[in-house]
């Protein structure tokens, strides 16, 4: 090949070549086209120039060593007279027609060209531009580092204890979060899977272990579980553990990485919430009180279990407006529809007691309360309320109302009876009395006269009876107001009226009123004292002078008591005890015994909330005790 031909070959070589003189300046003597295009230069910039002047270090990079390294390599070639391969060099090249530099990485090789004496005359310098490869590798390195940093930061931020388990060796590596979270220092003695297993809560260990094993034996690549884990201080914490399984090409697990999340606080809250919810549900069930909600935006109905229970519907029943209304009986159904319509229009709440027939055909009373829920634009978005089975209460109330009604009816009938007694019967009785008064005794024969006398007696008796009865009714139906009374005043007035009876019987009456005053209706007190004293005289022991002691005092409950003791014939309480205050009960064979007085006294006392009691021994005497109730 001729010299020219060789020159052409050199110019066309595909890799960049440069030939420098082995002098101190390393003057460029030749360069091929590939070198020009790789470095973006031309022969006019390079030939005859010193290499290091043509390619100076990038002045923006203070610690650039490219030029220095190249110079050292040249020196090595000259000294050793052999080829020198350099490591990858960062050697930025100037961008043409600007002051800027372009980042470039090179893999240079320098080889000697000898003269006739065997000294190095030229150095062939060739470079491979590895910029693209190096830049992408650097970027990958940076990416990995930043993702590692990020991962560590996330782990720190979330309190995640991350772990890396080599399944073959059983080695377990932790991140440093294990110390703040579980209290264990990150030392080699916690670096086995057995250590991890040994700290699982005994109640959770089997389940967690079995679950993990099953996941490893499957084709799954994800595992998670919740368990209690023993911390360094011996306390157990709730942990949510998640792992990712790496398998080889046969599906055998070789590695698992994951993180333990401290969910202790959340879990405690959940448990508390669950127990509150349980209590609420239980209370609702026992109280037969349920809650419901209708989300008008999404048209979603929600009923608590108890609402289904009250309807006696299965829990999976599809809630339907029209169908759920159909359980109510008219007119209650319409009442409910009207109330709900009103809530839609005006927002007014409803609270209704309604009668319904449940799915199992039981008729029950329920109470429905409801209200609208509005969003910030004042639009109705929800209806919600409570639903309560009030059948027991309502039935009682209805029964009570009925019995009150019946009582009122009875009372009215009694009043009517009283009226009949006062008007109609008395009318007939007075007619008989007046007719008997018109009969001329003189015209009757002896036989008729005797019979007529009987009729007159019967007629008088009938009128007296009616008078007594209406007197008793008066006490029960009329309200008489109490006044402040002095026992001495009232008693003396009464004794004045019956003075002749007292004188005729030689009765000795002794008064001792320690409690001097009482608040009571005057005519009742007069009637009571009159009755007690006249009875004591009337039922004296034959041949005895009656001794009557009237006294008053306060008992242990601060009630005023009036007592009347006599030395009369007494009453056999074993025989008559229950009847003594009954109407028309007489216990002595006496013509003037009516059996009305004590009965009247009893209802007089009871009408004022008081009472009358008796203690008596036949042939010894009687003690009547009047208890006043001044509290109401």
């Amino acid at each position: 090949m001729t010299c020219t031909e060789l020159e052409a070959v050199f110019s066309a070589l595909p890799s960049p070549y440069l030939i420098v003189k082995a002098d101190n300046d390393y003057t460029i003597v030749a360069s091929n086209n590939a070198y020009y295009s790789a470095t973006g230069t031309g022969s006019e910039n390079l030939l005859g120039k010193s290499l290091f002047k043509a390619f100076p270090d990038n002045p923006d990079e203070q610690d650039a060593t490219g030029a220095e390294n190249l110079r050292n390599s040249f020196k090595t070639v000259i000294a050793t007279k052999s080829k020198h391969e350099m490591v990858v060099q960062k050697y930025d090249i100037p961008i043409r027609n600007t002051d800027a530099f372009e980042v470039r990485y090179w893999l240079p090789v320098n080889a000697p060209v000898f003269d006739k004496e065997g000294n190095v005359e030229f150095i062939i310098h060739t470079v491979q531009d590895v910029s693209a490869k190096i830049i992408s590798e650097e970027k990958a390195r940076r990416d990995i580092k930043s993702s590692n940093d990020r991962y560590a930061a996330v782990a720190k931020a979330t309190n995640d204890v991350t772990w890396d388990w080599d399944i073959f060796s059983g080695l377990l590596l932790w991140n440093n979060a294990i110390e703040p979270v579980l209290g264990y220092p990150n030392t080699p003695n916690i670096e086995t899977i057995d250590w991890w297993v040994s700290n699982l809560h005994p109640d959770d260990a089997d389940r967690v272990h079995d679950g993990l094993e099953a996941t490893l034996n499957s084709t799954e690549d994800k595992w998670s579980d919740e368990y209690r884990y023993r911390c360094a201080d011996g306390q157990y914490k709730y942990i949510f553990d998640r792992g990712y399984i790496i398998r080889d090409e046969h599906g055998t697990p070789i590695k698992m990485i994951g993180s333990m999340l401290d969910i202790h606080f959340r879990r405690l809250l959940e448990e508390k919430l669950a127990s509150s919810e349980f209590l609420l549900q239980e209370a609702g069930r026992l109280g037969k009180l349920g809650g419901w909600e209708l989300d008008l935006v999404n048209n979603v109905h929600t009923w608590s279990k108890t609402v289904f229970d009250i309807y006696e519907l299965p829990y999976d029943w599809q809630i339907d407006d029209v169908k759920s209304l159909s359980f109510f009986v008219e007119p209650y159904r319409q009442m409910l529809i009207d109330a709900v319509t009103k809530t839609y229009k005006t927002g007014e709440k409803w609270d209704l007691e309604l009668l319904m027939v449940t799915a199992k055909n039981n008729t029950i009373w329920v109470r429905s309360r409801g209200e609208g829920v509005y969003n910030s634009h004042n639009e109705l978005i929800k209806l919600r309320g409570v639903f309560m089975d009030i059948d027991q209460y309502k039935s009682n109330e209805v029964a009570l109302n009925k019995s009150v009604e019946v009582m009122a009816q009875n009372n009215q009938q009694l009043k009517n009876f009283t009226y009949i007694l006062a008007h109609n019967i008395r009318n007939h009785a007075s007619n008989i009395a007046i007719i008997t008064s018109l009969i001329d005794d003189a015209t009757l024969d002896e036989n008729n006269l005797e019979l007529f006398d009987k009729i007159r007696t019967v007629s008088n008796g009938l009128n007296d009876t009616l008078d007594d009865l209406s007197e008793a009714i008066k006490i029960q139906t009329n309200v008489i107001s109490a006044e402040d009374l002095n026992f001495y005043d009232v008693t003396k007035r009464v004794l004045n009226i019956i003075q002749s009876d007292i004188e005729n019987s030689n009765a000795k009456i002794n008064l001792k009123f320690d409690a001097e005053n009482v608040k009571f209706p005057k005519i009742y007190l007069e009637s009571v004292i009159m009755n007690l004293v006249t009875n004591a005289i009337k039922y004296k022991k034959p041949g005895n002078e009656p001794h009557i002691n009237l006294c008053s005092y306060l008992d242990g409950n601060s009630n005023t008591i009036l007592e009347c003791r006599d030395n009369g014939m007494g009453i056999d309480l074993k025989l008559h005890g229950k009847k003594i205050f009954g109407l028309y009960k007489t216990f002595h064979d006496r013509k003037d015994a009516h059996g009305v007085g004590l009965y009247l006294n009893k209802i007089q006392m009871e009408s004022q909330g008081g009472a009358i009691l008796v203690d008596s021994t036949p042939e010894v005497g009687s003690i009547f005790k009047i208890i006043f109730n001044e509290k109401d």
Binding site: A422, H423, N427, S430, N431, A433, I434, S437, K474, N478
Partner: protein
């Protein structure tokens, strides 16, 4: 004793009417008597004869319980025509009722002189006559 000119009984009870006729006769208290068997019949009479002062009674013995128009209803309407009557007419309620409600009701009506519980006797009738005529 002076007698009442005309004594009027308004009562539906036939037996009472029978006996009161005898009692009036026995007590010798009235020159004339008139009887009505209920308040309506009596009221019609008063309305018709409101200006015939001589034919009107001086004393009325009025029952409470009567059909058609009872004693109270009679009083309500009688009071309305009273201003047209140029005569003093004494009215006594005579009833078998001793119901305090009835008695109080009678006392509350100014035009009623008194309340007498049946049976009315010769003595009662004479006492009333004495009070009216002296």
């Amino acid at each position: 004793m002076k007698k009442i000119n005309t004594l009027c009984v308004i009562d539906d009870d036939a037996i009472y009417t029978f006996t009161i006729k005898r009692i009036i006769a026995k007590a010798e208290v009235a020159e004339n008597t008139m009887f009505f068997h209920n308040g309506k019949v009596a009221l019609d009479f008063f309305v018709e004869n409101v200006s015939l002062t001589d034919s009107l009674p001086d004393l009325i013995l009025l029952d409470i319980n009567m059909p058609v128009l009872d004693g109270w209803q009679f009083m309500d309407q009688f009071i309305n025509i009273l201003p047209q009557i140029q005569k003093q007419i004494a009215i006594y309620i005579v009833s078998s009722s001793n119901d305090p409600e009835d008695i109080n009701k009678a006392r509350a009506i100014a035009e009623i002189t008194d309340f007498v519980v049946k049976p009315i006797t010769v003595q009662t009738l004479q006492d009333i006559t004495y009070q009216l005529c002296g």
